[in-house]
């Protein structure tokens, strides 16, 4: 579903990604872990077609970036630590706007369905700026799955959430993943990543330093694996 070969990203003289090779099969939930500044967000922004690679090849659902970016975007949902929602619009107005941008037919039904999924059906006519951070993040997930994408990218989705909001987000994330989507999530929260993901990749100093599936980690644990990957 996602194939990345020898990906390099430079910002001026600074090289953030130094030849990343990365592959994700359909239906996999990959947690991309790593310290601050490892290049996780840059990597996700390239996958999301928001940033152009300096070198290398990126293919998503058979389409090449940046050449076929529009085709990739139609199959992609993105959730970041920012909600990507308009505070002066209600939840349903926000989703209606994005439904038009994704050319979704019969979108009123789909909006109701998505709002129910993220547990905001009763607050659909409230302005988004009156929502708590957790509610905004759930609505952001609703926005990302509105067009029923094959691939979803989560960039630090738990940033700024309290314990309750994080638990609710867990349920939404599991729901999204259980629908057969391919998910790539960056996170600092190893416990949550361990709970959700089926594969764990460690990005360090601009390359994938280690990769292991849940099955391979059974005898070890994620923290040990993470520390060893960073030390190596």
């Amino acid at each position: 579903m996602i194939t990345v070969k020898k990906l390099v990203k430079r910002f001026g003289l600074k090289t953030v990604l130094r030849g990343v090779d990365f592959e994700v099969q359909p239906g996999e939930f990959v947690a991309l872990l790593g310290p601050n500044g490892a290049g996780k967000t840059t990597f996700l922004r390239i996958l999301a077609s928001l940033s152009r690679p300096s070198l290398g090849e990126v293919k998503i659902a058979g389409y090449t970036l940046p050449k076929q970016a529009a085709e990739v975007r139609a199959r992609l949902g993105v959730v970041s630590h920012l909600p990507l929602l308009y505070g002066d619009l209600t939840a349903e107005e926000n989703l209606r706007f994005y439904a038009r941008m994704y050319n979704i037919t019969n979108y009123e039904l789909r909006i109701t369905e998505v709002l129910e999924m993220v547990g905001l059906g009763s607050r659909r006519r409230d302005l988004v700026r009156t929502y708590s951070r957790g509610m905004q993040q759930r609505l952001a997930i609703g926005r990302a799955v509105l067009h029923d994408p094959e691939v979803i990218l989560f960039d630090e989705p738990y940033t700024g959430l309290d314990q309750d909001a994080s638990s609710m987000l867990d349920v939404v994330l599991k729901t999204v993943a259980a629908q057969g989507r391919t998910v790539v999530m960056t996170s600092h929260d190893l416990a949550r990543a361990e709970d959700l993901a089926t594969r764990f990749d460690i990005l360090s100093r601009g390359v994938i330093a280690a990769s292991a599936t849940r099955r391979q980690l059974r005898k070890s644990n994620l923290l040990t694996f993470y520390k060893e990957a960073l030390a190596g």
Partner: protein, 241 residues
């Protein structure tokens, strides 16, 4: 909230299709109008600023009627230009602050549709302010500004201003010094629009023959076309890292 896993009833993985260019433009314009209707932040800021400027000029230029007539075009365009930067800054800040610009860029639409959507919204807000400022100016300065020729020049000048301003606001909003950077970038670039607009406005207000001001009008139209075409071509590069 449901704890059970959820299965979609309305979609069967048909995936979003690329909307038509006009549909995407309309969606952005409608979204901006809806948000502005709720907050009234952008237009009110531009409006208050514009009214203050013409009132200050009214007192500062305590001139005779003839002298007042000669400064009308200059005062009007100074007011529109400075109020316009407020609007452009605010319009793009709304997109940047909650990451909404990324939300727009993630949609499978032609990126020039995003530019045109934002430019049309900005033009609508600027025209709304101008519609209020013109009668107030007419009363304060005792000068009738509702002349068809002048109104067309104001429209053409506003199109050029917003056309290049939207592009530069998109660039400046991605920097830390966005509030001051837009003015520094915009005014030198937009001068070829403002100068013929002021000359043509002066001509209409002075009642000169149309033939005498055809050159600045043609220049204004040419710059409108050039600026919008350039913005259309480079917008994709401006928004992508």
């Amino acid at each position: 909230m449901n704890d059970t896993l959820y299965v979609s009833k309305t979609t069967k993985r048909s995936f979003a299709a690329k909307p038509s260019f006009l549909r995407a433009v309309f969606a952005i314009v409608w979204k901006d109008i809806q948000a502005e209707y709720r907050s009234f932040e952008l237009v009110s800021a531009m409006l208050v600023f514009s009214l203050l400027v013409i009132i200050i000029f009214n007192f500062a230029l305590n001139l005779d009627i003839k002298a007042r007539e000669s400064v009308t075009a200059g005062v009007l365009w100074t007011t529109f230009a400075f109020a316009g930067t407020l609007g452009l800054n605010r319009s793009m800040s709304v997109e940047k602050d909650r990451g909404c610009l990324d939300g727009l860029l993630l949609a499978p639409v032609d990126r020039s549709a995003i530019y045109f959507g934002k430019a049309i919204s900005n033009l609508i807000f600027m025209l709304m302010v101008e519609i209020v400022v013109l009668p107030v100016y007419s009363v304060l300065y005792n000068k009738n500004l509702f002349q068809p020729g002048l109104l067309i020049i104001i429209l053409l000048g506003s199109i050029g201003y917003v056309g290049v301003g939207t592009l530069l606001a998109t660039m400046s909003v991605q920097t830390r010094t966005r509030d001051i950077l837009l003015s520094i970038l915009l005014f030198p670039v937009v001068l070829p629009v403002l100068l013929p607009a002021i000359i043509a406005s002066n001509g209409f207000l002075a009642g000169v023959e149309l033939a005498e001001i055809l050159f600045p009008i043609a220049l204004l139209i040419a710059y409108d076309i050039i600026f919008i075409s350039v913005a259309f071509m480079v917008f994709d590069n401006v928004v992508e890292e």
